[in-house]
Structures are given as structure tokens and as C-alpha cells.
């Protein structure tokens, strides 16, 4: 018997330090999709080649938006709720698909609470009052079948990767990202996420207007950078108009160069 669950690995510009408590290691931070509990692993492992792959190609970008102490009745877990924006409905559907598939394999899933997207950060906090919510971008680029091995350790038994919505690239003088999206609007949202990975507070400064071209994306990003720089300083100064949107398969890609 193994204690298993399916979850999305969470990557973020995590704070260097947290208040006292049992802190989860960075590599173990995740968003649980389906919790199986103590079960026989073999049937699932045998069935993994038929895993119902999600239809989305790119990893998911979200933002922490609320500090949670769970469960509400006897809180001993500190977690960040994740605002998945337009990805939430997609993920809920995928979670339902997973549940149906797991039930078809003979697993009984007892947890019927509504899906609450969150990432656990710590257990047994010394004091709830010491905790604050950092507003962070979080990306989920891999689904794992995790085994909980105790003492806040999770071992990946299998994984399925997505193309990251953005990846930092080598650039001699400045900072560069390969940004991806299925639409121009999503390209803009993911570019915002890339910049928020460098400097999380910037997310609050981006305008919410729709964009239809690369020029509009760059201009919108620069409006956010200018506001952030004016109000609290920003570690980069501008996004350049370098490059063009490339169409590859079903995706749009853009090399974003950020002036530091």
C-alpha cells in the first residue's frame, strides 16, 4: 500500500524565508488534483500509459491570492490559494476526467469537496499571526503521481510535462524569455507572468486591456513597468520591441528581451 495522489508541481519565486513552522521543501510544493489515499499502486502504475492527457499544451500560470489555514475547523496547514484565472474551468474539467478514470480503475475517491486550488507551504505554524500572503506568480508545468513518504516528503513515481508558458533564455546584456501562448492575449498574460517571476509586485501594475498585436503587448507591459518603477522601483526598465511572434504548430512564441 502506498499513500498516493496526483498533483501539479508548483514553481514560483518563493520567498527566501518563511515564519516558523514545518516548511515544505521547494521541490515538494504542489497543487493536489486527486487524492487517492493509502491504495495499491500497481493497478494505477499499469494504467498510466492510458493516462487521459489534458488537452491543454502549455503549463498553467496562476497567482497566489489568499492565505489559507486548513482545514478551517482545526487549522494546522498553511497554504496559498491560487487564482488560476481563465484556467480554472479547464483544470476543474480535467480533474473530473481524472476522477472518472481513476474510479474506472477501481479506486474509490472519498473526497467530494469542491476543488480548491491551493499550494501547501507549511504544517504546524507556530503562530498564524506571523504569516502574510506574498503575491506571487506560480506556474504548473508538470503533473506528477506523487507518493507521500512521510515527514513532508513526496516522491514522484511518474510525470507528464507541459511546454512552459515562459522560459528564461540566455541573453548577454539583458534578460530574455521565450514566451508562449495559444492566442495573442494569452501571450501577453504569460509575458506578464515571466516579468512577475523576476519581480512579483509588478503584476498589480499591468493594465487589463485586451491586446491584438505584439506592439500592443510591449506597450502594455511597459505601462506596467513604468508604474511599478515610479511607485516602488522595478528591477528592469523596459521590454524592447525586438522580434516578432512566431507561429509553431498550434502555438505562438515570442522572444521577449527585457532591459535591465
Amino acid at each position: 500500500m502506498k499513500r498516493l495522489f496526483l498533483g501539479l508541481q508548483a514553481e514560483a519565486p518563493w520567498p527566501a524565508e518563511f515564519p516558523p513552522g514545518r516548511i515544505l521543501g521547494e521541490a515538494c510544493r504542489h497543487m493536489t488534483l486527486v487524492f487517492l489515499g493509502n491504495v495499491e499502486a500497481e493497478p494505477l502504475i499499469r494504467a498510466l500509459p492510458e493516462f487521459p492527457k489534458p488537452h491543454f499544451l502549455l503549463g498553467l500560470l496562476g497567482y497566489t491570492d489568499k492565505l489559507l489555514f486548513l482545514p478551517p475547523q482545526h487549522p494546522h496547514v498553511v497554504a496559498y490559494r491560487i487564482n488560476l484565472m481563465e484556467h480554472l474551468s479547464t483544470l476543474v474539467k480535467f480533474q473530473e476526467t481524472l476522477s472518472v478514470w481513476l474510479k474506472s480503475l477501481g479506486y474509490s475517491l472519498s473526497d467530494d469537496r469542491p476543488f480548491l486550488p491551493h499550494v501547501t507551504i507549511a504544517r504546524n505554524p507556530v503562530s498564524q499571526a506571523q504569516w502574510e500572503l506574498p503575491h506571487l506568480p506560480v506556474v504548473f508545468n508538470k503533473i506528477h503521481l506523487y507518493e507521500s513518504t512521510g515527514n513532508l516528503n513526496y516522491t514522484s513515481l511518474w510525470n507528464h510535462s507541459f511546454l512552459p508558458p515562459f522560459e528564461e533564455k540566455e541573453h548577454t546584456a539583458d534578460v530574455a524569455f521565450c514566451v508562449r501562448g495559444t492566442t495573442v492575449q494569452e501571450l501577453c498574460v504569460n509575458a506578464q507572468g515571466a516579468l512577475a517571476f523576476l519581480f512579483p509586485p509588478i503584476h498589480a501594475f499591468f493594465p487589463k486591456d485586451a491586446v491584438n498585436s505584439l506592439e500592443e503587448i510591449v506597450m502594455q507591459l511597459n505601462v506596467g513597468i513604468a508604474k511599478a518603477d515610479e511607485e516602488q522601483g522595478c528591477s528592469f526598465k523596459a521590454v524592447s520591441f525586438h522580434g516578432a511572434i512566431q507561429h509553431t504548430n498550434d502555438l505562438l512564441e515570442w522572444e521577449m528581451i527585457v532591459d535591465v
Binding site: H171, T172, A173, C234
Partner: protein
């Protein structure tokens, strides 16, 4: 290699291809070309050659590296009547530049404790790092901006930040004519309102050390430079003010369709005499004057720190020179034997006027102008003298040039202590951000000694002195 043809010592021609209006000119030695990755920067040199009205060559200095639009370390001159002006040819940090000041006391005479106190004091007087400015001082008003733009560095001197004699030792006396506040957006004014006198982040710094080696003792003597002397090197620009000016004008140029026939939108350029071109120049000049004032106030902060620690008077810290390395300037140059007015874009390149140049002060007219070449915070910086090289429109390199990306530097110093490493090399470093230190470590840069050797071999400037850093404040 790279289809380059050697035409002179350390000087290569990049042949003109379809779309290029002029050939490229690369200043480099064989060793620099062999060691570096020049593919992308040379592509940018080719693209700059598409600019309407470009004259002579699209030029790259030996510290060239990949930028966006123009390469960093790029020079391009356009005809002042029929050519274009390109905000991307100046860069975001308008009038980013360097100033060198000297104190006639041997650096070695300072105790470790005094040096540490000095570093702390400068850190207190000169804000550095992301968004750091003066939190409790009055923000710049529009009337302040008007004065700053109308007077250049003189404005800060009138406010008590420095000495009037400082002006004689600045490129263009610390003032670019033609700036207009109405050409500057409210966003730019807001971004710059509390940042005057601050270093900023990235590769900007204040560096203190000793004059280690003299290469031209007579020249050094004429400039009051001596071996063992204490030097102060300041590298900063126009902060958020200049960045916003650049951004605003790039946006406007693009909206007006000026990128239509260019291979890279970041090269967008408008005719100099078009309303857009004139508007940009007015705003750029305003930002350039902001930068002169910024460096003037940083030097003032450094002078205050020296006074606190060593009781030196401000006059004892003598400004040798202040140079711009991100700027477009109108200059007269000989083209095919005829004097022609050009708009010289220097993006990551320094003006290097030689003997007799009219704009220089009487001392530098006799010697050529000082050319300041910061290296990295471990190895060295250099002081050179301009030779007035006609092929490059009297330009020279501006630094060592990066060898590694910021990402590579971060990775290579992950889980190590770069501050301790620098201490072991005899350099005390202080910064607001540990990431900045990791990104700016000496191994992230080319060896500045090889860069200045190339410049000297090509006849752009000659080495006067090598400067060895010991105290460094980074953003």
C-alpha cells in the same frame, strides 16, 4: 570568420549586403573575434546599416555585445539634414555615462577601517539599487525640471552640488542644447522625480581604488594623474526618466509607421527634421541633462563621504572627466574630404576626440580628451586618451563588454559567496541586491585589458593609466 575583411590593424570591414546602405566596420583583434560569439551582434551591425541617411559605416567597438536594435558598442552617424534619428540607437538609459575624479592621496595610505567606513558612508549618501532614490527630499517640480533642462549640470552646481570648475571637465560642459520639458511625458517626470543623485541597478556603480599603472606618464602628468593616487569612478545615467523618454518615443515612432522598411522594430527611426524626430531630440536632450545632473549629485555624495571620513575638502576631489556613452549628438566630421554635419549615435560607445577638437577645454585640446573605460569590479578599469579616429567618427569603446549572460552568471555563483570571493581578491563590494553582485562578477565580463588593447591598436584611443578597483558599490 564571419566574412570579415581586415582593412587596418584591429579593424575589419563587414561587406555590404542587400538592404545595407553602408558596410559594417568592426574594431577588434583576431583574439577577440576568435574568443567571442559575434554572430548575433554582427547581425545587428548589418541591420543598423539599413538606417536611412547612414554615412560611412555601421560601426562596432571591441566590447560589442548583443543588444536589441543596435548592438551594445555600436556607432552610427546619419546625415543631419537628410538622415534619421533612432531612439534605439541611443538606448533606454539616455546619457548613461562615466565620470572619473581623483584625490591626491595614495589609496594605500587609507587603513582598512577607514576604507570600510568610507564604503558605508557612500552607501548612506548615494542611494543605489532598484528604485532607490531620496525618500524624504522634495520631488522635482516642473520648474526644477525646466531649470535642469535649460542649464544641464550647472543647475545642480548652483544648488550646492559641486564646483563650477567641474563643468570644464565634462563632455559638452554637462549640457546638451535643445531640451524641452514639453517633450517629456508626465510619466517620465514622475519616474525621475526622486531619483536624481542615485546610482540605480544593473551594471551601474561607484568604484574607488588606486591608479595602478601609467602607460603615458607625460599625458598622465598633464592631467594630474599619478601612480598610487586614489580614483573615484561613477557609472550611472538618466534613471527612470530617460527610460520613459525612450519608451514614449519608441511608441510614438512605431504608431507613426517609422519602422515600416526596417528589419527590426527596435531600430525605428524618424527623419531628424520631422516633428517626431525633433520631439525625440528635445526629450533626449532633456534626459541627457538629467543624467549629467545625476552624476554630478552622485559625485557630491562621494565628496561628502570623503569629507566625513578623511576631512577632505570638495576641491581636493578633482573631476578629471565625465563622458556619455548612450547619446545622439550633432557633430561636424570630414566625409570624403568635406566637412559634414552628422547625427552621431553612440550606444555603448564613447566619444574620443583627439588633439585640437574645438569642443574640448584648452587642456584637452592640447592632449585629446580622456576616454573612460570601466572594466569589471575585480580586474581593472582604464583611462585612455582620444585620438580623433576619422573612420569611427571619433569614437571608442565604453567598457569590457559582457562575456556571460546574467543567467549564466547567476548559475555559476549559485550557492557560493561572491562578496567573500571578492574580499579575497582585495575588493570590498556592497550592494542592495545579492543577485546584482552575482550577475556583475568579474567573470561575467570580457577582460577589459584586451578590449583597450584593440582600441589602441586600431588607433581610436591610447592607454594612459590602468585603474585597480578596491571599493565598489553596486545597484
Amino acid at each position: 570568420m564571419y566574412n570579415l575583411k581586415k582593412i587596418k590593424p584591429a579593424t575589419y570591414e563587414l561587406p555590404q549586403e542587400a538592404g545595407m546602405l553602408v558596410p559594417g566596420l568592426i574594431i577588434a583583434t583576431e583574439a577577440i573575434i576568435a574568443e567571442g560569439d559575434f554572430e548575433k551582434p554582427l547581425d545587428q551591425v548589418r541591420r543598423v546599416a539599413y538606417l536611412p541617411g547612414i554615412v560611412g559605416y555601421s560601426i562596432a567597438m571591441p566590447d560589442i555585445h548583443w543588444g536589441y536594435g543596435f548592438p551594445i558598442g555600436g556607432v552610427a552617424a546619419t546625415d543631419a539634414e537628410t538622415g534619421v534619428i533612432s531612439p534605439g540607437g541611443v538606448g533606454y538609459d539616455i546619457n548613461c555615462g562615466v565620470r572619473l575624479a581623483l584625490l591626491d592621496r595614495p589609496f594605500k595610505s587609507f587603513t582598512t577601517k577607514e576604507k570600510d567606513t568610507l564604503l558605508q558612508s557612500i552607501f548612506k549618501h548615494v542611494p543605489s539599487g532598484v528604485g532607490q532614490g531620496f525618500k524624504n527630499t522634495k520631488k522635482l517640480s516642473d520648474s526644477d525640471y525646466k531649470e535642469l533642462i535649460a542649464k544641464g549640470a550647472l543647475w545642480s552646481i548652483e544648488q550646492g552640488y559641486g564646483l563650477e570648475v567641474d563643468l570644464d571637465f565634462m563632455e559638452s560642459r554637462g549640457f546638451i542644447e535643445g531640451g524641452e520639458l514639453h517633450a517629456v511625458s508626465q510619466e517620465a517626470r514622475s519616474r525621475g522625480s526622486n531619483q536624481l543623485g542615485s546610482i540605480g541597478s544593473g551594471n551601474h556603480f561607484v568604484e574607488i581604488g588606486e591608479v595602478e599603472t601609467l602607460f603615458l606618464p607625460e599625458m598622465a602628468k598633464a592631467w594630474g594623474v599619478s601612480q598610487g593616487q586614489t580614483y573615484i569612478l561613477i557609472h550611472s545615467g538618466s534613471r527612470g526618466f530617460g527610460h520613459q523618454v525612450c519608451q514614449d518615443n519608441l511608441n510614438d515612432f512605431l504608431k507613426q509607421g517609422y519602422a515600416k522598411d526596417l528589419p527590426d522594430k527596435q531600430l525605428v527611426a524618424a527623419p531628424i527634421h520631422s516633428p517626431a524626430g525633433r520631439h525625440y531630440f528635445s526629450a533626449m536632450a532633456a534626459a541627457a541633462n538629467y543624467a549629467f545632473n545625476n552624476r554630478q549629485r552622485i559625485l557630491h555624495g562621494v565628496r561628502m563621504s570623503f569629507r566625513e571620513v578623511f576631512q577632505t575638502s570638495p576641491e581636493e576631489i578633482r573631476l578629471l572627466y565625465d563622458v556619455c556613452h548612450n547619446i545622439a549628438k550633432f557633430e561636424n566630421h570630414l566625409v570624403d574630404g568635406h566637412l559634414r554635419r552628422l547625427c552621431v549615435h553612440r550606444k555603448g560607445a564613447t566619444r574620443a576626440f583627439g588633439v585640437g577638437a574645438q569642443e574640448l577645454n584648452p587642456l584637452f585640446q592640447q592632449t585629446g580628451q580622456p576616454v573612460l573605460v570601466p572594466g569589471d569590479m575585480g580586474r581593472a578599469s582604464h583611462l585612455m586618451v582620444g585620438k580623433g579616429n576619422a573612420l569611427t567618427w571619433c569614437s571608442s569603446c565604453h567598457g569590457a563588454g559582457r562575456a556571460k549572460s546574467r543567467m549564466q552568471s547567476m548559475k555559476s555563483w549559485n550557492n557560493k559567496d561572491p562578496i567573500r570571493y571578492m574580499q579575497e581578491q582585495g575588493v570590498a563590494v556592497k550592494a542592495n541586491s545579492p543577485r546584482t553582485i552575482a550577475e556583475e562578477m568579474p567573470d561575467a565580463y570580457k577582460n577589459v585589458d584586451t578590449v583597450v588593447d584593440a582600441v589602441q591598436e586600431a588607433g581610436l584611443a591610447a592607454k594612459v593609466a590602468r585603474l585597480k578597483p578596491a571599493l565598489v558599490i553596486k545597484g
